[in-house]
Every structure is written in C-alpha cells, then in structure tokens.
C-alpha cells in the first residue's frame, strides 16, 4: 500500500505500538473436554486453537513406530473465514503442509519423546483469524495444549515473528506489516536456556542486520513466555485448589 508508514518518525507503528512491543495476548487452557489437551490463544487479532491427543498407540501402519521414542504428528489448518478473502482449501495445500512440518520440528525438539517409545502424539492447530504471526500463535497455542495434556516437555516453546523496517527491528508483525513485503523472521525459543527450537526466514536481509532482528524476536519471545507462564500457573493453581489435597 503506497503511502502507508510502517514506522512513523516518532517511532510508532501502524497500530500504535512501539518497535519492540508485543500485541495483547490472552490465552486459555483446557477448552475442550474431549481432547487430552487443548488451548486457545489470541495474539492481537490473530486467534488460534490447538488440540493435542496422546500419547497413544500408533494409528495406521505399525511399521512407522519408532522403537525408542514417540512420533510427533502435527497438522495445521486455517479456517476458510480466517483471512480477508475466503480460503478455498483449509488444509492439504502447500503452506499448511509446510507449517505442519515446521511445527513438528519445533515440538520434536521440546517434547521428551524418549519417555514414550512406540507411541504417537498428535497436535492439531487451527487458525480461526489470521492477522499476522500465525506460526507464532500456533506454536504458543500448541505449547499450552501439550502442557494441558500432561506430556513432559523440556521447557515452554515460545515463538514470535520479527521484521526490519527503516533500520529498526519490529517485533510481532501484524498482517499489514507482513504484507508490506519486508524481511520477516519467525523464531521459536526455549526460554529458560535461550535455545532456539526453530528459526525461519525466507526473504533477503543483510547479515549485519540479522543480529538486531534476532535479538528483537528473542526478547519478544521472552515476553510471550512471561505471559504464558502466568496463564499456566493460574490454571494449575485453580485445579490444585479444587483438588483440595
């Protein structure tokens, strides 16, 4: 869009945020009683739902079972009403398959799969409203859902997107900022140790700037961790009070 200033002279973005500021995050765990674990997250206007089943016996061919660890199976789908233009194929298209693969790589790094040999863990994520940062919202929702299911994980997995405009790194991009065409990076982090679970970028960025953008994304992911940590502790505290002993 010509004439749209992604970063004003005073340092404000299109939606009034500062360069490194996150959007408002709200999350809930245990939204589906039928699933082993479930969670819902809203990051600004991006809304994602994650559902986890498992660990259970391998469905389909037994030959796929790994003798020493669990198989993690992720499926990403975005609702037909999630974007401005109605989407024809909610899942099965290239982008969804790639997202599913990325989610799988991310969670295989975090879930302690050696504790459940010859089993399968299914993670299904659906984006209900896409306003930028869909990968990040999916990872955050899936982390909460896996925690809700009681599956052991090394640490939280917190993700955030980042971009680079006018020499400044922006964190947590909205759809408008993503559509403007600048470089974008998606980072999934294990906050306690600072280890990176997944780093993805498919744009051109000068290597001198990479460190700034990575730093902005990492800080934003730590911010997400603070929020998700609060949500999980609140949930555990409530359940502990109800159980009473």
């Amino acid at each position: 869009m010509a004439g749209l200033e992604l970063l004003s002279d005073q340092g404000y973005r299109v939606d009034g945020r500062r360069a490194g500021e996150l959007r408002k995050i709200q999350a809930r765990m245990g939204v589906f009683a039928q699933a082993d674990g479930s969670a819902y997250i809203e990051q600004g206007n991006t809304k994602a739902l994650a559902v986890v089943y498992g660990p259970h016996e391998i469905r389909g061919s037994r030959a796929r079972a790994l003798p020493d660890r669990a198989l993690v199976n992720c499926q990403y789908s975005s609702a037909t009403f999630s974007t401005g233009e109605r989407k024809r194929r909610p899942h099965g298209d290239r982008k969804s398959c790639e997202m599913g693969l990325q989610l799988r790589q991310t969670f295989e790094a975090a879930i302690l799969t050696q504790l459940h040999p010859r089993s399968q863990i299914d993670i299904y994520v659906q984006v209900l409203q896409a306003d930028g940062g869909t990968y990040a919202a999916c990872v955050n929702a899936a982390t909460l859902a896996v925690l809700d299911a009681g599956i052991p994980m090394r640490d939280f997995v917190c993700a955030c997107s980042a971009g680079f405009v006018d020499g400044t790194a922006l964190a947590d991009l909205s759809h408008v900022e993503e559509a403007a065409g600048g470089p974008q990076l998606a980072l999934a982090l294990l906050p306690a140790s600072g280890q990176i679970a997944l780093l993805e970028m498919d744009a051109r960025l000068h290597e001198d700037h990479l460190e700034h953008v990575l730093e902005a994304a990492a800080q934003a992911a730590q911010g997400v961790h603070t929020l998700l940590d609060r949500v999980v502790r609140q949930h555990v505290r409530e359940a502990s009070i109800l159980l009473g002993d």
Partner: protein, 263 residues
C-alpha cells in the same frame, strides 16, 4: 416440543468461592525444582546442568529423597494389580487362540481385567483372574481422566441405591444394575441379557450424570464421593443435573459432606 436455551453468562471460577489457597509448590516446565544433587528424580522431572528441572505443569511431591511432579492430567500408567475396564480391539490370530477363545471373548467386547505385568515400554499384560472379571453385559460406560480415580483396596462396589460400579484405574467406569443372585456378578464369559427395569435404568443414569459433574469440578472419584453426590442430586431431575448451576450446587454439597466425614 419444549426447548431450553441459555445465553452465555460470566461465571466466577469455583476455586474463588472455596476461599482456599494452594498449599503446594506448583511448577511449570523449565522451572528449577532444586539444585541439590542429593535427590533422586521421579516422574515429571529431568536432569539438566546440575539442576533438577520440571517437565510437566503440576505440584511437586517429595517422598524422602525422591522428588516427582504430579501433573494435572496424565495418561494411564499401568501398575501390577490395577483393575482396568476396556474394549477388545484386536486379537492374536493363531489357531490355538481361536479354538480356545471362540465363543468366549470376541473383538468389540467390553471386559474388566487385572494388570498382571508391565513391560519396559509401558505396555501391560492383563488377565481375568477369576469369574469376577470378564465380559461386561448391560450397563453404562463413563470415560474420565485416570488421575481422578482414587486408589482403593477394591474397585468393585455395590451401592445401596441399587446399582454397582467398577472404577477402572485407567479412567473407564462401568455402571451396571446389581444382580439379585450373589454368584452372578458382572464378568464370567456370558453376558446377562435380561431386560433391565426402568427404576434401575434411572438409578444408573443418575449415577452417570453425577460422575460427570464430579469430574468437571475435579473431585476424586471413589464409592463414598459418588454416593454422596447421588444423594445430593435426588431432589433434582436426572437431566437437570448437567446444568451448570445445579451441578455446582450438588458438588458443593458433596464437598461439604466429604469434609465433614474426614474431619
């Protein structure tokens, strides 16, 4: 036809009205539990860089030198001697097995059994030790989280209200009408297919709804709690038990009676 509709209403979480504070040490994955290396690590923890770190979200339990984290929801881990209720999904297809088992247990049958042994990868082997175990006939199955079934000396209960329960450790609960003859328990290899009376069916439906309401408020399931909940629900109609306000009312009464009984 009469329809009942309700609009969304903001309700306070039940834990607030209980007015209690969480007493235990609550952790989330990535939290350091202790840096003291003298402890043994149990479930829900892992060792990382000289520190004991939690791997699930739950409360820390310490037994002497063993530290483990009990998660809110876990999948069932078999232990020798547990009672489980389950459905046969697949059978070994060998000739001797066919000859021996044909006519007794088929695929799709619901059975109760006891855990005989546990393998290293978590698989369990079951056996039906006596006629007490075996095929289950007419009744209602309720699936709940295994962490809500309390461990007791016996999991077969005959309730005074006229129905019987099998509380499987794997979270499968079987409610069935109490048979008049004492030697004809649920189990064995033939299912009792005589028609069940309306009064018995109502008792079973009420018990099922009570169990579902106890589960939503996270109360441990055992014969006493289910019985108290049943008695608290008697003034209401069976289908009303699942309405949120009535569910809360019944469960609060059950909780109070359980506290009085303990203290």
């Amino acid at each position: 036809m009469a329809l009942e509709m309700r609009l969304p209403v903001a309700r306070k979480p039940l834990s607030e009205s209980l007015g209690r504070e969480a007493k235990k040490h609550l952790v989330v994955p990535g939290d350091t539990i202790t840096t003291d290396t003298g402890f043994m690590r149990g479930h829900g923890t892992y060792m990382g860089e000289e520190k004991l770190i939690a791997s699930v979200a739950g409360s820390v339990e310490r037994v002497n030198k063993l530290i483990c984290v009990k998660a809110l929801k876990t999948r069932y881990n078999g232990e020798v001697g547990d009672i489980v209720v389950g459905r046969i999904t697949e059978r070994r297809r060998s000739a001797e097995d066919e000859l021996a088992m044909r006519g007794f247990l088929q695929e799709g049958d619901l059975i109760s059994a006891e855990v005989q042994a546990v393998f290293s990868d978590g698989a369990v082997s079951l056996h039906t030790r006596s006629l007490k175990y075996g095929k289950l006939g007419q009744g209602v199955l309720v699936q709940v989280s295994p962490s809500l079934v309390k461990r007791q000396k016996t999991h077969f209960h005959d309730l005074p209200c006229g129905a019987s329960l099998i509380l499987g450790n794997n979270g499968f609960i079987w409610i069935y009408p109490t048979s008049e003859h004492k030697d004809e328990d649920a189990g064995g290899f033939t299912a009792n297919l005589e028609p069940v009376s309306l009064a018995d069916r109502e008792v079973i439906s009420r018990l099922r709804n009570c169990i579902v309401s106890l589960v939503t408020q996270r109360i441990m399931l055992y014969d006493t709690s289910i019985l108290y909940c049943y008695e608290a629900s008697l003034p209401h109609q069976i289908k009303d038990i699942l309405k949120p306000e009535i569910m809360e009312e019944i469960v609060i009464e059950t909780r109070q009676r359980l506290l009085e009984q303990e203290g």
